[in-house]
Symmetry: D2
Subunit: 357 residues, 4 copies
């Protein structure tokens, strides 16, 4: 942790620190000049050091991993807690935390609070939400789109990695009614860390390396998020075609998006619209017209690169959107939201340059 | 080479044996029971052994690599020559070969004879064709689609890897007028060997590994082939949207194809149509409805796996098509065509089981 | 399976077909002209088709996966069974099988019968052997070294992948007393499939990709096999230094071996000795002096490539030995042993050319 | 660049910014709070922006790439120049630069000034050194070993990546006369970026992926550096056995080192000695006894992890040493040296946490 830590450093907890989003939070927070990590939980690894779970943290002084149910929220007095817990668990944990420590703010990286509509939640997850009041309170944490609400929120639902990637590219176009909402195809490709650190045969090295395939065709839960945010932006119901694929790499998402411009608009107009929308955003960079991004350019950084090119079919365009699923797609955006919620400069601690090669 | 070689073994030459398609031809031909390799050319490596260029061939007895212009076509009396030469060169070489040895048949793996229309050729390649008569004579070698013409041909233009993958999935549907030809999006992903063995910065390990990106957006030459074959199948002009991407792996292409069924047709109908079309094909396997293929399942084999699933948008479907770009996408299909052209069983020497893991 | 199958095809079972060595056995046996696969067991996947577990086998007609304890060994009348079961289980299964069907032969791919000495077995595995009579009967299946015994055996213990790689390189030198047995360092590197298909966090793609490390330092069980075979070859006790490493790739082992020649011998003498020893072996290829092998050259083939170079330190040499851990390191050597045991030509069904690139 | 830049920021140039070590220097320097990048040269890319060569730098304001021979060294008044130029070129460039701008300091990342002995230089490089006076003046830049000399130097020769990795592990042991200098075997494994961005067939993705091999056996130029530094540390001539291997990954070196302790010393003693030597070093971390490092733990950071374990052969030990070849093995150590040479805190700008997964 930085030497410039003062009395005023914000006190931060990471719940579920032994997974990949937990490790990525630590990578960013350890060097963040405005915070102090005071709590790390990891139920299966409680009692161990973070360095036992992720040896790259060996050189850093960090609190030990503890069990979640031993945390005394009131006594801890956290300024903010990141929840990187499995789906379902989170609703109960956050509920209890906010009762015991109402001053603590929460950025939740799970899917538990992303859907605002209780009916949609029930439809996609197969059960009623355990904390409907908090579901109502939660703010959807796509920073560039909901910045003001996030700054004022107590509970932020950090978006999914696929959804952040596609929404940053499409929401400005849908808001401007520049594209046909019924003609959106999102062909998305992700590195494997998006699936987490759980033990699954299909995530073994030998099952991923030297291969490529689609998955979750027709029923991936990120579809619910996309529908929600796109419908909100378009002012009408939107159902998109979304097909995720697994790339034999660790980090990165590239979404190739096929769209139809509304009558009279050219691909160049869509590019101009996006360029203007993101002109002053520190973490979204729109490439010059005709250039599409590579995931290499954003690995380990909090940036999203967006490109627009003409389709061969008149009136249609192709958008490429690339981000690091663990950074802007998860923990980086979570830190960005934390900065807003705690009144820190939005870019603080997020100036990592992409690691390439 | 097989011990069962007899006087009747066909005499085969491989022109351009030092590239990846050349190596793949040798991998297949060495174990092919009906042929004898009598000529290997590789201009830059002339005088060396094949084992110097690809040490995996060290255990096999093979002719030395020679310079192309030292070949005496008449004296060699080849039954068939595979051309795995760079684009442009091929037109001249094949022209001369067929003048000197009119009995020799040719399977050309370059793009030189794939476009039947001289105007289309000029538009995509920027110059007039050097052998317009042969261009007219050449048969497009997508075996399952043009089998009879291939069997009777002297010169076969082996299709491109991307095009084989997409055409096998779509031509039966276009012929049956089951889908809208104006609503085809082909999002294709390939391993790096599709780009050959040439020295390019963007093909270095460090530029490819741990990254993913689209390329050739709007202007990839395989588009010309797709347009030609799809227009032929549909009986009208077709212009498709086609976006290739580079996957950090060596072999394999997966095409994710978004289509709209004609009025009244369901995705299941498209699946039934493809299943029936390929029911008796040894090298094309249609998965059960709703399953999409992985490139793993075809690596090193001559198979194509095709799957059909419903899109979330009513009346639309998603097709996945997977093949090994070096085998069914290049050298395997070339051997399949050779078998037909020489009167050998079509599957001879092509019974490799995919290598996975 | 081959069309030339006749009444005389040998009846083969694969016990434990759902792992990687099981899949590799099928890849080889499906195209083997002398055998018929009549039994596939996989307890956790019983009732499924092999194509459900490994979809690359979809095009092939294979028996369904069954539970091991439903097998009626006498009625099946197998000519040979391959055991690809976990360690420990195997001793009991093989014991029962050979009681019920004494005419059936067995090639065991587990570690259960590799150690001939009951005391060594107990020391390395922490318990007494459950079938000590069979342990005594079993023949160590390093084909090139114990060919005659294997041909006459009923039960063959197929060697480990690391051990095959190092033993093929060193046993001829130890037998000839050409090197100092106390000065052997084996630095071995393997692809991940050597660890099998079990669910382990350290085998997840994200834990292996873009990284490299040693493991099992000082206590890997392959050490016991190495000690046994090297002591046998040297005619005295040998304890080697052996350090395995994990390479982010699927297949292949490369062992870099540091040795000291006995007084007066030069590295070139060691090379000459190995070249002569393997001059007529179809599956072991010794490169010219000074060249070391790559795993690429043997992927998917049953070959071992061995190279010898001079160390900078006088009187010392460096040996490189490369094989595919699933083929010559496991299932390919198992088929080679099967051929010997069943009186078939040793190379039958094993003429795969390496898949590179 | 950091917002805290003041009038006192040091003026820095990077000569040869278009290669991998150049990009890595920029990744580190952009966020370094004490410097300002005022010059970037890249002869083949002169006139372009750094973002054209490495698009990950698009969001940052950087000087344009210029041709080396247009630099006016006196006018630029650089505080320090990093030379990331090809071998041979460097001698002339540095010579001229230091004549024109004697106040400028230089950290050279090439091999040109690493060998102190003109005879050794001539023997390994085949020609006389072009700047023998500077060769004499240059200080070998292994920071933890030669810190004081580096702090006082005008010209520092940054060590090679392989050599840094092995020297940090062995020099303390050789200085303490704790190991036998005639019994050192260094089996080193590196990711591909160590070979740079030049166009070579053996560095293409398809030639590296899914394979593993040794190279430069017996004649790698890093041997000269190892001999020099080990002889210096041991106070007698040392010739080591060193074999580099290529790992299919981008970044990271792991050296597995086999050593013999001097009479009476145990592996634990060697571990204690290294632990004590590096107890207060910010960038070298010695693991607890018996644990060996992974390259994952250091990727993108300036750290070296060292582990010591017992060999099975009594009196011998195995050391693992891991670093990121582009960071501590090149550009990170160069920045560390820069900090010392310019009177900045040694760790400034080097607090990157490793990127894993």
């Amino acid at each position: 942790m930085s030497a410039i830590l003062s009395e005023k450093a914000k006190k931060i907890g990471v719940l579920g620190a032994s997974g990949y989003t937990g490790a990525e939070l630590l990578r960013l927070l350890i060097r963040h000049p405005g915070v102090e990590i005071v709590l790390l939980t990891a139920d299966r690894r409680a009692g161990q050091a973070m360095a036992d779970v992720f040896p790259q943290f060996t050189p850093f002084r960090l609190p030990p991993l503890t069990a979640l149910d031993t945390a005394d929220w009131a006594a801890l007095g956290l300024d903010l807690a990141f929840c990187a817990l499995p789906h379902g668990t989170t609703q109960k944990v956050v509920g209890e935390l906010l009762v015991r420590a109402p001053e603590t703010k929460v950025v939740d990286l799970s899917a538990d609070f992303r859907l605002a509509d209780p009916a949609a939640y029930g439809r996609w997850y197969g059960h009623a939400h355990a904390a409907p009041d908090l579901q109502k309170e939660a703010v959807y944490g796509l920073t560039e789109i909901h910045r003001d609400k996030i700054a004022a929120a107590r509970l932020v639902a950090n978006p999914g990695c696929y959804t952040s990637c596609a929404e940053l590219a499409l929401i400005p176009l849908l808001r401007a009614k520049a594209i046909d909402p019924d003609e959106i195809v999102i062909d998305a490709k992700s590195g494997v860390t998006g699936a987490g650190r759980g033990l699954r045969e299909d995530l073994l090295f030998a099952e991923v390396s030297e291969g490529f395939h689609a998955y979750g065709v027709g029923h991936h839960r990120h579809m619910a998020e996309l529908d929600q945010e796109f419908s909100l932006a378009a002012g009408r119901e939107v159902v998109v075609s979304f097909t995720p694929h697994l790339v034999p790499m660790n980090r990165g998402i590239l979404s190739t998006i096929y769209i139809r411009a509304v009558q009279g608009a050219a691909p160049q107009d869509l590019h101009a619209l996006l360029s203007k929308f993101y002109a002053n955003e520190p973490f979204v960079h729109v490439l010059s017209f005709g250039k599409l991004p590579q995931t290499h350019y954003v690995r380990g950084s909090n940036l999203t690169f967006i490109g627009v090119a003409a389709d061969r079919r008149r009136g249609r365009a192709i958008i490429g959107s690339a981000l690091d699923n663990l950074t802007k797609g998860a923990s980086g955006q979570a830190v960005q939201n934390m900065n807003l919620m705690l009144g820190l400069p939005e870019t603080m601690g997020l100036d990592q340059v992409a690691l390439f090669p």
